[in-house]
Every structure is written in C-alpha cells, then in structure tokens.
C-alpha cells in the first residue's frame, strides 16, 4: 500500500480579474509531496511563489485545479473546516514573522495548542523555546525581540502542534546572512526530528538546495 502524499497539487490555476483584463498568476501547476519530504519553491519576485504557498496551505481558493492536503480536498471545505485542518496538520513560518504583538513569546508559541484547549501547551511551549535558544526570553513581547529571535518564536509556534507539513514563506527574507543560516538550521533540524514535510518558498538557490526537491516558477509557470 502506498502512503498518501501529504500534499497533492493538480493543475492549480489562479487568475485575478483586473481593470486591464485577466491576470494569470499561476498556470496549471501540478506536483506531489510525500510525507516527511522537503521541497523548495524557487523564483524571482512576482513569479507566483507566495500565491502557490497560500493555495497549498488553504489560505486562499484556486480559480481551478485541486489541492489535497493529507488526502483531504481543500476545495470542498468551508473556511472553518480549512481552519481546523490548518490547526491539526499545518505549521507556518512567514517572512515578516506574524507574531501577535499583544502576546508574550511563550503565549505566541502556545496559541495553536491552546486553540484546542490542550493543557500541556505551556510545558511544550517552554521546551520548544529552549530548543530554539530562547529559554530566557519567554516573557518578552515581540517588540522586545530582534528579527531573528522573533522568527525563532515563530518556528517554535509552527512546530508545537507536531504538524505534518510546514509552510515557510521566505523565512529568512527579513534577516541577515548569519541569522538566516541559524534559522534554516533550526528549521531543518526540527523538520528532521519531527518527520514534518516542508514547503519552503525562497528566491535563494542556496537555501533551495538544502531541500530534496525544487519547483522553479517563472511568471506563474513551473519551468
């Protein structure tokens, strides 16, 4: 019996209607990612990387085509069902970190577990913050943390639910080279130890090279 791929994308197309006519942002993209595998989406600005990531993670609806996440067709779900899938199976890391500014580092990390009412959230959150090297900054607010530290909090948050797949949107885009490599290392290490699949959006070929597979995008088409 073959295992279900964690992500199965078929003929995915996204079109925006603009004043000047239709704008094809993504054209018929198809790929499949086995459980635990890693993959990079590489391409210049405006090539449709982030749109593809948003569609794969169920943050947006495609114009046509399908996305199966852990075998579940996202297109058939309403927004709240997709939210539940995200909570159960998906982790996120964003270029601009997207921490909730009114919550401390620890509270940010525990949000996904607390959403489910899981009482072990605090202990697990503390452990993850230790692992990303922020054991002494748990009570700090995002504005009191540097960019690299904020991204490490975001990483801890992404892994707290032991997601089956992690979507990372240019996770080092706002960081300097040294901090970036630290973040990538932590991400890869967490990925390996938890067996999480990884979809990494980047425009850096070196970062893409660390993953098992690279999808190159140009003007919305896989090349």
């Amino acid at each position: 019996m073959t295992a279900i791929p964690i992500l199965d994308v078929q003929r995915l197309t996204k079109t925006y209607r603009t004043g000047a006519g239709e704008l094809n942002v993504l054209k018929e993209i198809s790929f499949s990612l086995p459980q635990g595998a890693t993959c990079a989406i590489l391409g210049p600005s405006g090539s449709g990387k982030t749109t593809l990531l948003g569609l794969c993670a169920g943050l947006d609806r495609p114009t046509s085509g399908s996305v199966l996440l852990n075998g579940d067709p996202l297109a058939d779900m309403d927004e709240d069902e997709r939210a539940r899938v995200r909570n159960q199976h998906v982790g996120f890391v964003f270029q601009n970190f997207q921490l909730i500014p009114t919550l401390t580092a620890l509270e940010n990390v525990t949000v996904p577990m607390e959403l489910r009412g899981d009482r072990a959230a605090r202990a697990l959150g503390l452990e993850l913050l230790q692992r990303v090297g922020l054991g002494d900054r748990v009570a700090h607010y995002p504005t009191q943390l540097s960019g690299g530290e904020q991204q490490r909090v975001a990483l801890a948050r992404a892994f707290i639910n032991r997601p089956k797949i992690l979507f990372a949107d240019e996770p080092t885009g706002n960081l300097d080279a040294e901090t970036s490599s630290g973040i990538i290392d932590i991400m890869m290490e967490l990925n390996r130890s938890a067996g999480t699949a990884l979809v990494l959006v980047t425009h850096d070929p070196d970062v893409a090279g660390l993953t098992g597979r690279t999808i190159r995008l140009r003007s919305g088409e896989a090349v």
């Binding site: 990531l53 948003g54 709240d80 921490l99 909730i100 500014p101 009114t102 959403l115």
Partner: protein, 848 residues
C-alpha cells in the same frame, strides 16, 4: 476553538489597549448615570409618596366650595363625623405698616386642628400652634425677607393688624414653589370676619377637612357620599386622587428626563461602536494570524465580543456608580416643587435596569463591526494588500449585519416607546432620531462627494492633505459628522426652544402692554380706584366687570345629569367650575369672532335667551354649536342663554379674557366685582400704586406682571436647571465620543504622519494638516446640527407651542465656533505626540 482559549486570548490581547478601551467605555457612562439617577429619583419619590400619603393633603377628605357652605351643605358635612377643620382661602393684599410694603398674598384662615396628618413646620416651631389663639399670623419666609420684617412685627390684612408669630416652612399638601406666586399668610379663622374682606361675589375657597376613624375605609366612604357631593355641587379631594395627580405630573417629568438621558446613552453607544470599529481595524493582523493557526471565524469574533462586553460592563458599572451619586442632585433641585420630603436611598432595580440597558446597547452597537471582523481573511498574513478583503468588503451586502442593524433600530424604537409610554410618541421620537441620523449621514456623504469633485488644487499642501483626509480610505467623516452633529443639534434645539418660551414672556412686558391688574374692586369703588390710577399718572387700559356664575344646563341637559353619565366627554372641571363672565358692547383687541354674530347690547326681559359669545374651544368641549342653549345659575337665579358667536382668544396676552361674554343690558344688576388693567413703568411705580389703592380700598388686590414673571422665571429656572444638568450629560457624552473617535483613528493618523515625516514633512506641516481636517469636520458637523436645530425648534414653536419664532444669530454662531473649536482642540490634544516623536519609536510603541 476551545472556550478557555477565547477568554485567555481576549484578556491577553487587551493588554496593550486596556487603558484605551477603558476610556472608550466611559462613552456610555454618562448616559447610564443619567438613566440610573433618574430611575433612583423616581423610586425615592414614589417611596416618599407611599410613605407619607396621608400628609399629601393633611386629612382623609377635603370638601370644597367656592361660596360659603349653605345650611343643607353644613348638615351634610356634620353627618361626616368628627374631627373636622375649616379653612377659607383667598388672595388679598398684605401691608407691612412698618415699612409700608404691600404685596398680594394667599390668605389661609384656619379653624380647627388642621393638619390631621403630618405637621405644619414653622420657625419658631411653637408658632404653628400659637397663631391659632388669635390676631397672630404665620407668613411665608420670603415675605419676611422681602420686607425686612421679623417675628413680632405687624402685618395688616384688610382691617386687622396681625402680629407675625413665625415663618412657615412646610404645610402638608402644599409645595412651597406653588406659594411663591403669592406668598401664604395663615391667620386664625375666627379673625376673618373682622378683616372685612369677604363680600358677596368675592373670590374665595371654602374648605372643610375631615378625618375619618383610623379603621375606616376612606375609599369606600367617599364612594358612598360621592353622589350627594355631586348633587350639592361640592368638589372634593382625597389622598388617592392627589396621589394620582401628583404621579401623573411627575411621570411627564421622568419621561422627558429619561429621553434626554437616553440620547446621551445613544451618543455614547455610537462612541463605543466607533471605538470598537477602530480597535478591530488594528486587530486585523491578529485576527488573520489566529485564523491561519486554525481558529474559526466565530471564535475570533468571540474574542473581541468579550472585549466589547467587558467594555460595556465597565462603562455600565461606572455609570451606575455615578448615577447613584448623582441621584442626590435631583431632590436638591426639585425639593420645592414636590410637596414631600424626599430621602435618597439606594434602589437596586433602577441601577440594574440602567446597567442592563447600557450593557446591551454597548454590545448591540459593537456587533456590526464584530460581524464584519469574521470576514478577515487568513491570507492577510501573506499579503498586506488583502487588507481590503479583511475589512469584510463594506460595500458588499452582509445579511447578518443588516439583521443586526434592524435589531438596533427595533431596540431603540422599543426603548423610546417604553420611555414615552405611548406608541405614537415613541415611534415619532425614534423616527425623528432616525431621520436626523440619515440627514447627518447624507450631509457627510454629500460633502465627501463635493470635496472630491471641486477639489481646490491650488491650496497649500497642508490644507489639501487635510481636506483629502476627509474622503481617503478609512476616513471617519461619516461617524464624526453624525455624533458631533447630533450633539450640536440636541443642545441647540433645547436652547432655542427655551429661548422661544422665555421670549414669549418677555414680549408680554413689551411697551404699552398692560402689566398690572387691580381686582376685587366693588362696583362702588370702581370710579375711586380709576381715579387713583389716573392721578398716579397711569392709564386705565381696560376695565371689566366680573360676574361669577355656574353652568346648570347644556342643550337642555342638567350638568348634574351629564356629570353622572359615564359616557360623557365634557371634562368634569368644565361642568363644575365657576364661570367668571363679563359683559360689554365691543370685542376686545385680544379676541376675534370665528363664527356667528357679535351682539353687544340687548333689551333684556327675564326669561329671554341671552345671546352670548363663548370661547371656541369651550364650545368644542361642550359639543355645542351656534344657537344651542346654555343655562347659567347666578346665585340661584337661572339665566337662559344661547350661543350667538364663538371667539378665538389670544390667552397669551396679560389681559382680562373671558370664556363667556354677555351683551350689555343683562348683568348690570348682578353681584359684580371689577377688574382694572394698567401699565406701570417700574417696580417703584408699581409699589406706589399698590400702596395708594390698598390704603383707601383694603379689599382691592393687585397683581403685578413683574412678580408673575419672577415666579414663572423661578419655576422655569428650576426646571431649566434640571434640563441643563441633563444637557450636560449629552454634551459630556458628545465630547467623550469626539475624543474617543479621534483617538480611535489615531493609529491610522500616526502611520500617515510618520510616513510624511520620513519623507521630510515638518512638525508644523503635520499639525496644519490635522488642524485643517478637524476644522472641516467641525464646521460640517456643527453646520448640519445648526440647520436641523433651527428647523426643529421652528417646528416646535410653530406647531407645538404656537408661538412666534425669531432665533437670534448669536447662539448659532457660538455653537458653530464652539463645536468646530472643540473638535480642533480635542483632535489636536488626542493627536499629541504624533508630530514630534521619532518615527521608529512610535512605530514600535503603537505597532498594535
């Protein structure tokens, strides 16, 4: 989402905005304080009325007549049992011989142990008992103050000089404010004949107070004797009747105050709604992150619903606390208008009701913004450009939001109906409110369109920026115009309406209009009194004989039969009252004939039907038309009349007007007293005339318009003080809403200003931009408010008060300047720091 997380998230997320949310919640505090204090006051008063019911009239039953009791009536009164007391009331002039001061007073000549319930409070306390022994009087304190008199001084009433035994503070059943029109003087009944004041035809009330045994059922007994009292044409009063009248009068006051309080609360609710909207606008990213991490739309909304509910609770609690503290204010102001001592105690019912209303309205008004928040797209975390979607596409139709708006409109209408206690009034109130809001919103929209269309491209950068801010995305033009404009409208409307009423009183005193009445002039004194007036250099503007009579038949039906008819439409007082009629050949200048023919003189033979002229409203009450017959009873002699004409009378003029006018040639021989109307130029002239007349004719009374205006002014200013206190609630709420609305837009302003500063704008330029924007808003809002206030106060004057309308321009200018100025000042104060702090620092501190 797990429920516990919603609570946790709501609490944690509020961290950076708690202080701000707290300030926003104050928006509803004043409105609730108003409702709670009025409700508590109402409770205290009805408690006082229940507790002290019997002292409301000081007896179980008052039987009253406008002439001395006849033998038959005395027999009836004796049958009612003991104890009883007597009182004769009338107005006359009191003279303080020491200083020569004269003033119209209400004499109450008391015989017996009245009051049976409650106590007559005097200073010294012993005076209440002592004056009854003879030739001593207890007088209103204001009278002593006016003439610099003291206890022991003399006061002359008619032919008797009394020694002042003390000053009266409180008498059961009498509100002190009612007495200020003519101050009260209590004398013993046995001294009344010696005063020589009451002559046939004199106007006086004769009262008989009855106390039933403690075990008696007062209601049942009164019901039993009611037919007999009606047959004898005796009026009566009981505790139950008085309680009902007092309750009805107070209900009107509560209703009015409650509506003003409700408007303050509504303004506050608008403030809360705008604060929540702004708060949520800053929470879009948090909402998107939560959605991204797996929170459902509903739970995300719940997080902020909890925050809004908490705001409502805090605002409502603070309002209730303030209201409890405030309830002491009303008794202090209205003490002299209510004939009972009012104690303030904490009543939970109005407090809880006020809090509930406040809390509900707060949450209800927050709901539209909250519902739109459920449309925040998780995609926002990837692209800030999807922010537009996150706002829920305001232009897109959301049925749920529409339902909430309908619920809001329904609740406001329901509340208005519950406050005014009639369907029509409540609906009218709600409709006017809805219409005003639509007009304000329409004006704001129109302005936005006009500014865009005719944009002054040649203005300075700062002015152009400020102006453009009025229509840029996320502008607060609509909200501020509605809240500020509504506030201006309400205040100005209250002010203008009061001006209309006061102007009416002032116009009475206009040049050449009569302002002094001399009355109770006996027929043989008419010439003498007129001579005194003329020799004082004054004009006799009008002289009229007055004949008092009662109505005994209308269109062939006896008034006693009509009274007994349960289906009658004619008001009881119209049937039982004394008609003070006059006779003359010409119409006066305050009346004109609306129907029929004016007949000035007839050749009368007993038994003829006299062609009379009656007031057109009374004719309507009687359901009588021209030619119908009325029979009057003139001291036992029936006088048959027929309606020859109806008149429209201008009652607002300070002149003698009569419901019923006879032609000359009929009543000349009847018992008559005369009235003389003149004009004095100042208080000295008035005092000189009064002294001269009273010195020669002690039975003649004088009423000076100045004292009437003073009395009306005193009562009005008390009422006006209450209205002003209530208006302050509205103004206060309006200003808090203004501050919170501007503050809630601060984040957006901040980002724009920082960007401009980064691009090289100076602090001054940023201030100018903000000034221009707030000034434009202030002018727009106040302008709309002023136009509406003028229109509605005109309508009130024209259709409700039926008075002339000519508002002065000054209050309008002051309102425009004050509102625009306050908008700019509060706008700049709440924007403090935006122009000066380093951009990065602000960005970090105010990031959310």
């Amino acid at each position: 989402m797990h429920p516990s997380f919603i609570w946790k998230m709501a609490w944690r997320d509020s961290r950076s905005s708690r202080r701000r949310l707290l300030v926003f919640s104050i928006s509803i505090t004043l409105g609730i304080a108003a409702l709670v204090s009025i409700g508590s006051f109402r409770n205290s008063v009805s408690q006082a009325i229940d507790d002290q019911a019997r002292s409301l009239i000081g007896a179980d039953l008052i039987v009253e007549s406008s002439r001395p009791f006849k033998a038959e009536e005395e027999m009836f009164l004796r049958s009612l049992g003991a104890p009883q007391a007597r009182e004769t009331r009338f107005t006359t002039m009191a003279v303080f011989p020491a200083g020569g001061g004269t003033r119209l007073v209400h004499v109450r000549a008391i015989g017996g142990d009245f009051p049976f319930y409650g106590t007559m409070e005097t200073e010294p306390a012993s005076a209440a008992r002592e004056f009854r022994d003879g030739t001593r009087a207890v007088v209103e304190e204001s009278l002593l103050i006016q003439f610099g008199a003291r206890v022991g001084d003399r006061v002359r009433i008619g032919d008797v000089e009394f020694s002042v035994a003390g000053a009266v503070h409180k008498m059961p059943g009498e509100a002190s404010a009612g007495a200020s029109f003519a101050p009260r003087v209590y004398i013993p009944l046995q001294d009344l004949p010696a005063t020589n004041l009451l002559k046939p035809g004199s106007i006086a009330q004769y009262r008989n107070y009855v106390k039933f045994p403690a075990s008696a059922d007062v209601e049942a007994r009164v019901k039993l004797i009611e037919p007999e009292m009606q047959r004898l044409n005796l009026e009566y009063d009981t505790v139950a009747k008085r309680k009902k009248d007092l309750g009805a009068a107070l209900e009107n006051l509560y209703r009015f105050l409650n509506l003003v309080g409700f408007i303050a609360l509504l303004l506050g609710a608008v403030g809360v709604a705008s604060a929540i909207q702004a708060h949520l606008q800053q929470k879009h990213r948090t909402g998107a992150i939560l959605r991204c991490l797996g929170a459902s739309a509903r739970s995300t909304v719940f997080v902020y619903l909890l925050q809004a509910a908490a705001m409502g609770l805090v605002g409502a609690t603070a309002g209730a606390a303030l209201g409890v503290a405030m309830q002491r204010v009303f008794p202090a102001i209205l003490n002299s208008l209510i004939p009972l001592p009012i104690s303030t105690s904490i009543a939970w019912e109005p407090i809880l009701r006020g809090m509930l209303v406040g809390f509900a309205i707060c949450v209800l008004f927050a709901l539209p913004s909250l519902l739109r928040f459920r449309k925040v797209a998780p995609l926002l975390v990837l692209r800030s450009s999807t922010e537009g979607d996150g706002r829920g596409g305001r232009s897109s139709f959301d049925p749920l939001v529409t339902v909430v708006y309908l619920i809001i409109a329904g609740s406001v209408t329901a509340f208005a109906i519950s406050q005014t206690e009639t369907w029509t009034r409540g609906l009218v109130f709600a409709a006017v409110l809805g219409l005003s809001i639509s007009i304000f919103a329409g004006m704001a929209k129109l302005l936005i369109v006009l500014v865009r269309k005719f944009f002054p491209h040649n203005w300075s950068f700062a002015l152009r920026q400020g102006l453009a801010n009025l229509y840029r995305p996320n502008n607060r033009t609509l909200l501020l115009t509605v809240s500020l404009g509504l506030g201006t409208f309400l205040l100005l409307n209250l002010y203008l309406s009061r001006e209309v009423l006061l102007a009416q009183f002032r116009s009475i005193d206009a040049k050449d209009q009569p302002n002094i009445f001399l009355f109770d002039i006996q027929p043989d004194q008419t010439r003498g009194v007129a001579d005194i007036v003329r020799s004082s250099g004054l004009r006799v503007i009008q002289e009229a004989p007055v004949v008092t009579m009662r109505l005994s038949e209308i269109k062939g039906r006896k008034t006693s039969d009509i009274l007994a008819d349960p289906k009658r439409k004619i008001p009881e007082w119209q049937l039982q009252r004394e008609y003070r009629c006059t006779y003359r050949e010409q119409l006066s200048n305050t009346e004109k004939v609306t129907e029929g023919e004016w007949i000035g003189r007839v050749d009368y033979h007993p038994g003829d039907a006299v062609p009379i002229s009656i007031d057109k409203d009374i004719a309507k009450d009687f359901e009588a038309k021209l030619g119908d017959e009325l029979v009057f009873d003139l001291q036992g002699v029936p006088i048959k009349t027929r309606i020859a004409s109806t008149r429209d009378i201008d009652w607002k003029r300070f002149q003698t007007n009569f419901f019923v006018v006879f032609p000359a040639g009929v009543l000349e021989a009847a018992p008559t007293f005369n009235v003389l109307v003149s004009r004095v130029n100042d208080a000295n002239e008035s005092a000189r005339l009064q002294s001269a007349v009273v010195a020669q004719y002690p039975n003649v009374s004088a009423l000076d318009l100045t004292s009437v205006i003073q009395t009306v002014d005193a009562i009005l200013s008390k009422v006006a003080l209450v209205i002003r206190v209530m208006s302050l609630f509205t103004v206060g709420a309006g200003l808090i809403v203004l501050a919170s609305t501007i503050w809630s837009g601060r984040y957006q302003r901040l980002r724009e200003s920082i960007l401009l500063r980064t691009l090289g704008a100076s602090r001054m330029q940023i201030w100018k931009i903000l000034c221009a924007e707030y000034a434009m808003l202030g002018v727009l809002a106040s302008g709309t408010g002023i136009v509406l206030a003028v229109a509605s106060s005109w309508a009130l004057a024209r259709f409700v008060f039926k008075l002339d309308y000519a508002p002065s321009i000054w209050p309008l200018l002051v309102a425009a300047l004050a509102v625009s100025g306050l908008t700019v000042i509060i706008g700049l104060l709440t924007s403090r720091g935006i122009g000066s702090a380093p951009p990065l620092e602000i960005l970090r501190a105010e990031a959310e």
